[in-house]
Amino acid sequence: MHGRWRRVLRTPLGLTATVLVVAVLALAVLGPVLWGTGAEAVDTDDILAQPSAEHWAGTDNLGRDILLRVLVAARLSIMLALLAVVISMVVGLLLGSLPFLVGSRFGRLVSAAVNIAVAFPGVLLALFFAVVFGVGATGAVLAIGLAGAPGFARLTQTLVAGVAARDFVAAARIAGVGRVRILFRHVLPNIAEPLVVNATIGAGSALLSFSALSFLGLGVQPPSYDWGRLLYDGIGAIYVNAAAALAPGLAVLLAGLAFNLFGESVAKGLGVDVGTGPHTVHRTARIRPVDRSDRETGGAELEAAPSDLVLDVRDLEVTLPGASGPVRPVRGVTFSVRRGEAVGIVGESGSGKSLTALAITRLVGDEGRVDAARLELLGHDLRAPDTAVRRRMLGTSLAMVFQDPMTSFNPAHRIGGQLAEVAIHHQGMSRRAGLRRAVDRLSAVRIPDAPTRARQYPHQFSGGMRQRAMIGMGLMGTPALIVADEPTTALDVTVQQQVLDLLAAIRAADEVALVLISHDVAVVTEVCDRVMVMYAGRVVEDLPATDLATAALHPYTRALVAAVPDMTTDLAEPLATIPGRPVAPADVPPGCAYADRCPLATARCRDEDPPLVADPRVRPDHRVACWHAGEPLPAGQAGRNTDELVESP
């Protein structure tokens, strides 16, 4: 609590606001004591005078010093504002907690009334009440107090509803504690903080509203005076003595700002939401380019004829800003994809597989940094900065399918229009031709009644259909490579197969290469020719899909395969899992990242990271990064006792 308050004072805005609030309050206390008589001194020889050494802000129509009057008026202005806020809070608290106290039927009526009242601006409510209560200070206090009440009532209602849903309130209720008691003992203490913060902001608003009413002549009446009344008198004489209007205006402004800003900074410091929206702050980390000379580059011997290569990646690294310094979730990934080839990337969450997909498609956000010794698509260097020509090339020959088709389409545009954009921007088609092409592509991905569907919005599509439309969007151009990041994870099991079949069909028909990212070993084996297994940002094994179940060499791959149940799995036994949890990108060990979970790990594994190399004992297109590749595992390793297992996040 203490530290949080100190944090308020540490920001320049918070400090300024605090100093101003203290100063304003001090003025309210001391002003009338110090200058009370001076402010009343009438000098008929010196009326409506301009500012001078004697009267810094000039004099009014009775020759009274305006500056002194402004200083003295602080007490009345602030007292009336605080009084009004107290009324707002009391009435608001009462109305806001009524629904909780009296139960659903009457409570709903109260909250409906509050909702209607909130829709009206405060000034209007204040005018209404000012008429009812009559012109004058008392009327204005009641008017502003009541006008502010609906806002507080709504806030209280929301806060109370939030706390009421929590377990300890339910427990108290079950224990037979009365509602009033629950409200005072359990609910109100939990919502006091945001209420007080909002009351502070409310004090600023009340001060401004009050001076507004007085300025209209509806508030404080002579011979009393507050800042608003002084402003009312001053504005009439603005051409004679501008200071008469400016001085009280400035005072209102400073005091109002002080309360408002103080409330806002306290809210920010305490993490209280005052409904101004999220203000997340992200910081870009600046990272030195890494020295790659010491990094192993396996698989050089696999290089195919350049014309056959669709994607060529060497030593890919992705660095992101982390809580305590930059982290590197992708650490030297090397692979290539040939025309028509399907490569699967599997791994647990956090293994860097999705980030790899984003990096090879150049979609890592500005906060991240991508380094690579080579990153080429169809012979174009993707590390070079974007040009219009390159964008066109990427837009037409690289397609991307994302995990969640619900959020990946723009909710504000029709499906057809979103597909057509690709053709309009990259293939120079007219809008109409683009839409025709979109309908054609939607039929191509087996969406029934494509012309109607193209005119619909994403939320009118089912999940599976959205994902097919997303694939159809990739087919607007003539893609050479489709990168699909968990394309079936967010879908119902029943429609997953359709999407996989569709991807397979497209690949077969047009020799499109496919990079399929998944945590599901079964899916990858079904669709892909080759499988790359990633662990802690590195590829640990790269092997033909047909070999995955039988000839995997890396202990991690073997554990992954063993964790997939099949027809012969004995369901009476607990399902196999991998013990331990994946390494966090922030603390990758110097040696093999899997060593801590590996039954074969030795001292060497913990010191030296094994390079990804083709194992001479097996086929040349099988690469593995392990000092103990293929060594027999201790019996029952993969299915160790479940109670020592830790779920990976």
Binding site: P121, G122, L261, M400, V422
Partner: protein, 337 residues
């Protein structure tokens, strides 16, 4: 693996048309929203009727002053129908509203409807111009700030912009008005500071009314845009390799503006009310200056009618904003239930 599913697993929306007009989400939403408008209007009308009865003492005696002869007060009470049973008065009031009869001014004896008709246009023009000015300034400003301060960019710019906009938004419109009067009227003498006779006279009132809302709106647009730029569908747009301009304006902006519009609606209704103060600063011959004069002279029928007009304006604006929102963002139909 043996499960096969027909491609039309989801219920085709063609079914909805067959069920009837009310099954359409948009129609249903509109009907519900209009229902809420009617209830709110009823509450408003009843409140404005009740206003005159909530005033302590005799409103006619209050209006005519303590020296007015008792016969005159009684005659005026009779004319206003204040001696009838309350339920008759209420029904008469409702009947009057429907036929456009808003009563008679106590002080000027003119029909209130005439006074309102004469004053309303000036207020309406002021509010609409100020709203347009705020939107025209705030949206480009908010978008530009959003792009400059998107994730991983412009930390200092963000701080400077946020602080400035909070401070500017806190200054009430009538104080901005006073400052503008001082600078452009008194010191520089460039612009007229009262009335609405010339085009130049519109400038200061419109600006004082628009500045605060513009600051708030720009701030909301920025926050929303920064959030939207992180959305999956913006990544999709980037994956389509669309030019940055298209991504910001076509994909991010509509989604950012929907949220901004919700608050923009509140700003518009606050602006309708803000005219009351700004009109009094600039002696603008609209409803705002009239209502304050009428409150001071205790001309209650006029006050009653003008408060009613302002209230109706606010309610209509809020309803229109909700409907516009539903058009812009089809999802809000679902969200509302």
């Amino acid at each position: 693996m043996t499960v096969t599913v027909s491609p039309t697993a989801a219920p085709p929306p063609a079914d909805q048309a067959r069920v009837g007009l009310l099954a359409r989400p948009w129609v249903r939403f509109g009907a519900r929203r209009l229902g809420r408008l009617v209830v709110s209007l009823w509450v408003l009308v009843t409140a404005s009727f009740a206003m005159i009865h909530l005033i302590p003492g005799d409103p006619v005696r209050g209006a005519l002053g303590p020296t007015a002869p008792a016969e005159l007060v009684e005659a005026r009470r009779q004319a206003l129908g204040l001696n009838d049973p309350i339920i008759t008065q209420y029904l008469d009031y409702l009947r009057g509203l429907v036929t456009g009869d808003l009563g008679t001014s106590i002080s000027s004896r003119l029909p209130v409807a005439e006074i309102v008709a004469q004053r309303l246009p000036a207020t309406l023009v002021l509010a609409v111009l100020a709203f347009l000015a705020a939107v025209v300034v705030a949206i480009p400003l908010g978008v530009a700030m959003g792009v400059l301060t998107r994730r991983g960019h412009g930390r200092r710019t963000e701080l400077a912009f946020t602080t400035t906009s909070i401070v500017v938004a806190t200054i009430p419109d009538f104080l901005i008005g006073v400052m503008l009067v001082y600078v452009f009227g008194v010191r520089l003498g460039w612009l007229p500071v009262a009335g609405n006779e010339t085009a130049a006279a519109y400038l200061l009132p419109v600006v004082s009314l628009a500045i605060g809302p513009a600051a708030i709106l720009a701030r909301i647009v920025r926050v929303e845009l920064v959030t939207v730029l992180e959305a999956d569908f913006v990544r999709t747009a980037r994956a389509k390799r669309l030019p940055a301009r298209t991504i910001y304006l076509r994909h991010a902006l509509p989604n950012a503006v929907t949220a901004a519009l919700t608050l923009g609606g509140l700003l518009l209704s606050a602006m309708v009310a803000g005219t009351v103060l700004v009109e009094n600063v600039f002696a603008w011959p609209g409803l705002g200056s009239t209502v304050v004069q009428s409150i001071l002279t205790k001309d209650y029928p006029v006050v009653q009618a003008i408060v009613l007009v302002y209230g109706v304006g606010v309610l209509v604006v809020n309803t229109l904003v909700d409907l516009a929102l539903a058009r812009l963002d089809p999802r809000s139909l679902i969200r509302e239930g």
